[in-house]
Symmetry: C2
Subunit: 189 residues, 2 copies
């Protein structure tokens, strides 16, 4: 739980009582490799915080190809914003890539905290805005890079994730086939 508190306090100050209100609503949740945190077609009702493990957000394009949109590792929030905020069906799956340990908040608890704790909404907005900007910064450069550069950049920026995810997921994240990725890895050594 310490990790969550540290994470939150990076974005703003809260007193001890407020922190206890928040941690009081938090539940631990374990998800096993390959299981889903939330699914396409369902309404997302939880906010999660990754204590341990790697997750991914993925969907299927109109050719049925599975696309990995992002990876989420330790000390990050995991939530399908669009679905959670607007109570609409999600269009993506959030899946555990490895066994994961999360802290989760139900939607009702989350909203209660927003109404109870002064300044909590400002913190949440900051967290969300930063997370969204980070997603753009990670994903956007891939568009203009060739396959080898994509892989090298990924290696450089996310060395902690690299060896914990299957090749097929990484390929679907980088937008290349897994055989291409395999060849690229061979050539780099």
């Amino acid at each position: 739980m310490k990790e969550l508190v540290n994470f939150i306090l990076q974005y703003g100050n809260l007193n001890q009582q407020q922190i206890e209100l928040i941690t009081g609503k938090a539940t631990e949740l374990e998800i096993r490799k390959d299981d889903y945190f939330s699914e396409a077609g369902k309404i997302s009702t939880q906010v999660g915080f990754v204590l341990d493990g790697v997750m991914r957000v993925c969907y299927y394009d109109n050719k049925g190809e599975e696309i990995t949109k992002y990876f989420i590792d330790e000390n990050n929030l995991v939530v399908d914003l669009e679905s959670f905020q607007n109570s609409i069906c999600s269009s993506a799956y959030v899946q555990a890539v490895t066994d994961c340990k999360l802290i989760v908040f139900s939607k009702s608890d989350w909203e209660e905290l927003l109404n109870t704790i002064v300044g909590w909404d400002a913190i949440v907005h900051k967290i969300i805005a930063r997370a969204l900007m980070q997603k753009i910064d990670r994903r956007s450069p891939l568009v203009s890079e060739d396959a080898t550069t994509r892989y090298l950049s990924f290696m450089e920026k996310y060395p902690k994730i690299l060896n914990r995810i299957p090749l097929s997921y990484l390929a679907s994240y980088l937008g290349i086939t897994q055989s291409s990725l395999s060849r690229i890895r061979k050539n780099i050594r």
Copy 2:
């Protein structure tokens, strides 16, 4: 100015007095084709709202290639968030692709409004979160599409922009060379 008010009211309610406070701080600004709204290496000090015209955000990658990260057209906010919020140097240029008419707010006025108008911050947060999600939704799919699909999707989703931007900018947005794009266009007809 009506456009701005309508835009804002999509995200929350404000009374007449509050709206007047906001519009009272607004200034009209015209930017001519190819001129910059904000520049890399400088600190962004304005929030803009596009009344007329198309703008783009672009930067140069480590090979010196110019990359167009997004296009922004009518009835959208234009601001380099990272730079504006944190008063740090921007890493991107915001440029007018056509002659543009904007409404702008200075940073000090913008902050004063945030401190004065109850509920304005919530509206702003919503606007920003939505804009960021939109940017991801637009840019991310390009990673896994081939060049022809990228162009077709663009045509379909942004027909209003298509004929107002030079081919080279579109190519640099789609992550393909302009000769490839030219050939793709030929083959589609």
